[in-house]
Point group: C2
Chain length 169, copies 2
DNA sequence: TGTTGATTGACAGTATACTTACAATATGGC
DNA sequence: GCCATATTGTAAGTATACTGTCAATCAACA
């Protein structure tokens, strides 16, 4: 909202939720990359590894729904993870369009090893707040993301995405 | 944090602050673009226009500090705004390295006209929350972004960035 | 004055994050 | 079985968001 004079100041930017979300995302990625630099893994690559670990044999389309990540971009992410030998793609016998995703041994080991570092990175993001405020912020944010799910171009579809899974391979 | 069995589940993603910030950023951009589609303006382009309006004759480096936006990427943003005739670049007489940024008449008019739409977009992002919760979330987020400012690769330098301004052109 | 070091904008490279379009393949209705 | 429709992965195009590097320029100092 502008003030009563409708004068446009930098407050139109600094106090806008959208600006704060963008800044916080920048900061979060920066902290994650810095903490995990020895593992050479980005936040999205980490999310993909966790999802593939949790749902071995998932395909790219379902993976995108599970981590709420655009399907087209995910193609590049999968490619990079494959180049780094963290995952492998296997053709499905039942559906020739589909490529099934699995962690390699190295990928599974990496995921196991990186967990404490990721936990530390996540904690660092909220560190400056008092513990009670951290809980409040997380609760409100979780609520808001959930209620706004359909507003995003790639809504999270954790459940339905996996309904038809497990019958291919 | 993982549970006591250290089993890796999707909760390692879904409950992580970093994931929530990413989701919220996706949602915020999506809402902004959707509301402002008739104006063909992105959130960052909007922030740049506001900053140039507030500080006519600013250069690209200072602009990047004022909106906490990477200097390299900002070059492309400026280029697009110039192509759309919303801003113009003029060489500085005092410093041949610098190009001074100004809104065009059309750019100023666009900025004036888009304000209500941007306000509506910003309001929509927090709409699902109760009014009291919106205030709480905004306050905590503002605090967190401020306290984490130095953690980002492009810290906000609203004040210092403008200290040496106004002597060129 | 002249040279060193900093600043500025531009560029190349990587990685999200989205759009639309397309060919190969699969599915459901007939 | 055949065909319209849908799904899947891929690719091209746009826009952030960052890393580096580089040449031109400027500023400060010996």
């Amino acid at each position: 909202m502008q003030n009563k004079n409708s004068a446009i100041t930098m407050d139109a930017v600094y106090t806008a939720p959208g600006y704060l979300f963008r800044r916080m995302q920048q900061i979060a990625v920066s902290i994650f990359i810095e903490e995990c630099r020895t593992f050479d893994l980005t936040p999205v690559q980490f999310a993909a590894l966790v999802a593939i670990h949790t749902h071995p044999g998932i395909d790219a389309t379902r993976l995108s729904a599970v981590i709420a990540f655009d399907r087209s971009t995910l193609g590049n992410v999968i490619e990079r993870l494959e180049t780094k030998h963290h995952i492998e793609r296997k053709p499905s016998r039942d559906d020739k369009r589909i490529k099934l995703l699995y962690l390699t041994k190295a990928g599974a080991a990496l995921l196991r090893d990186i967990m404490p570092t990721v936990d530390r990175a996540q904690a660092r993001m909220l560190q400056p707040l008092k513990p009670a405020d951290r809980k409040t912020l997380l609760a409100l944010l979780t609520q808001l993301v959930d209620l706004n799910n359909e507003a995003s171009r790639v809504p999270l579809r954790a459940e339905d995405a996996l309904e038809h899974l497990g019958k291919s391979g």
